[in-house]
């Protein structure tokens, strides 16, 4: 479904991604893990069209999407939940969710989808009319995911959904990810929480200093010495 080949991204003369190749199959959950500054967020931002690739290609459902604008990419079925959530704090929860459906015209179905999101995250129903900046971090993450779902994406990009959240909330968020996957949504998740990533994802890539250090089935990663070396090795080296 998503096919990335030899992707290069730079900020000025800082190379953030130096030749990334990565695939995500339909209905698959794929994780990208790696230490701070590895380029994980840059990867998702490049896929979503927020930052420009210097070289390489991104294909979504067989169509080249490199260089397209973010607002055009949402309409093709790709939604990003960015790092730090970026909910619209001055708008209400209801308005945030409505904005999630900006690209849709089927109003009645949108209303039903909003109901589904509220059923998935009941706390949002209680907060429905409140300003979103009044929400706790976990609630904001739920809102950000719900907002992304309202575009009815076929591929969901999640950047560190567990960042700064209490374990109980993290469990709830990942519960939702699993539920989405049961509905056939494909997801590419960036995580620093290695345990979470490995248990949620079918396959995992380890990203380090802008290159893929290792990749494989998540199940084979846990306790694998090569993985420990690749991940914790690069994590140590990055410190």
């Amino acid at each position: 479904m998503l096919k990335i080949r030899d992707l290069h991204v730079s900020y000025g003369n800082i190379a953030a991604l130096r030749g990334i190749s990565l695939d995500v199959g339909k209905s698959e959950i794929v994780a990208v893990i790696g230490p701070n500054g590895a380029g994980k967020s840059t990867l998702l931002l490049a896929i979503a069209g927020v930052v420009r690739a210097r070289a390489g290609s991104v294909e979504f459902d067989g169509r080249a999407i490199t260089g397209q604008q973010p607002e055009a990419l949402v309409t093709t079925g790709l939604s990003l939940v960015p790092e730090g959530r970026h909910i619209f704090g001055s708008l209400s929860v209801a308005e945030n969710l409505r904005l999630g459906a900006t690209v849709r015209r089927d109003r009645q179905e949108v209303a039903r989808d909003i109901d589904r999101v509220l059923a998935m995250f009941p706390i949002l129903r209680e907060r429905y009319r409140q300003r979103a900046n009044k929400l706790s971090g976990g609630e904001q993450q739920m809102l950000a995911i719900g907002r992304a779902m309202l575009a009815r994406p076929r591929l969901l990009l999640l950047d560190e959904p567990s960042l700064g959240l209490a374990p109980l909330i993290v469990a709830q968020i990942y519960e939702a990810v699993r539920a989405l996957r049961d509905q056939g949504v494909t997801a590419l998740i960036v995580e620093q929480n290695v345990g979470r990533a490995l248990s949620a994802a079918d396959r995992t890539y380890v990203l380090s200093s802008g290159v893929i250090a290792m990749s494989g089935k998540s199940a084979e990663f846990a306790g694998n010495a090569a993985f420990d070396a690749a991940y914790f090795g690069v994590a140590e080296a990055a410190r």
Binding site: P82, H86, F88, E95, V103, R147, A151
Partner: protein, 293 residues
Amino acid sequence: MIVLQNLIDAVSLGAVYALAALGIGLIFSVMRLINFAHGELIMVGGFTLYTLAGQPLLVMILAALLTSTVLALGMERVAFRTLRKASPATLLISSFAVSYLIQHIVLLAFGSRAMGVAFLPELGTAIDLGGLRIPLLQLVTIAVTLVLMAGLVAFFRLSETGLQMRAAAEDFTMARLVGVKANRVIAFAFAISGVLASIVSFYLVAQTGSVSYKMGVSMVLIAFVSSVIGGMGSIAGAALGGFLVGIVSVSLQAYLPVDLRPYRDAFVFLLFVLFLFWRPDGLLASRADRDRV
């Protein structure tokens, strides 16, 4: 009685400033551009009235609205769209360039002298309201401003495009990530700023009875000051700032010693500088400096 008279003066001047500040604030909120060429949108509105003087009133008004709006959309398309990713400083400088360019085109075409226009001279009369003599222009200005602001509030609260513009004002990149079309909301903001500018030109022309190629310059400075006081990036803040500056100006006009009154605007700017020491981000929390995704 004097106090009430002054209050009406203050509110009507504040209303005009608020409309001008809204034009500046709206563009800033969606693209971090301080559009000094907003003054020229006001000016071309005035010159349209001048050119069409003698035509039916409705024709003059609609033509001025159209000219300012088309010019606003044109400057966005030609000058600012290509610079959208540029730094705020670059954007600011290019807005000065656009402002200067339009002023000089008008200077070449019409000359530098102010020219008289009879636009709504009936509004110059004052009406008696329980012992108060209130210029009709002030009442009309207040009424028009209230209607426009109510319309804008309804637009921002109730319409889909209004919601998208509020989202874009808060976090432009995130708005695009949910599918808000960048070109569309920015063009919309410019169109609204054009309409607001031509309405300010109606006030200026009705009040002074003349037009000149520099007529927008001091208004745009006041509008800028107002929107900074309100909080750059906050649309409600711009309106609030405009009213405050109007009230302060009229108070200074009324209560400064007579020989200092000609320097009223200097005092306004002095107070502005002092205000900035107290509240550098303006009154309503601004999101101007919050970085993007």
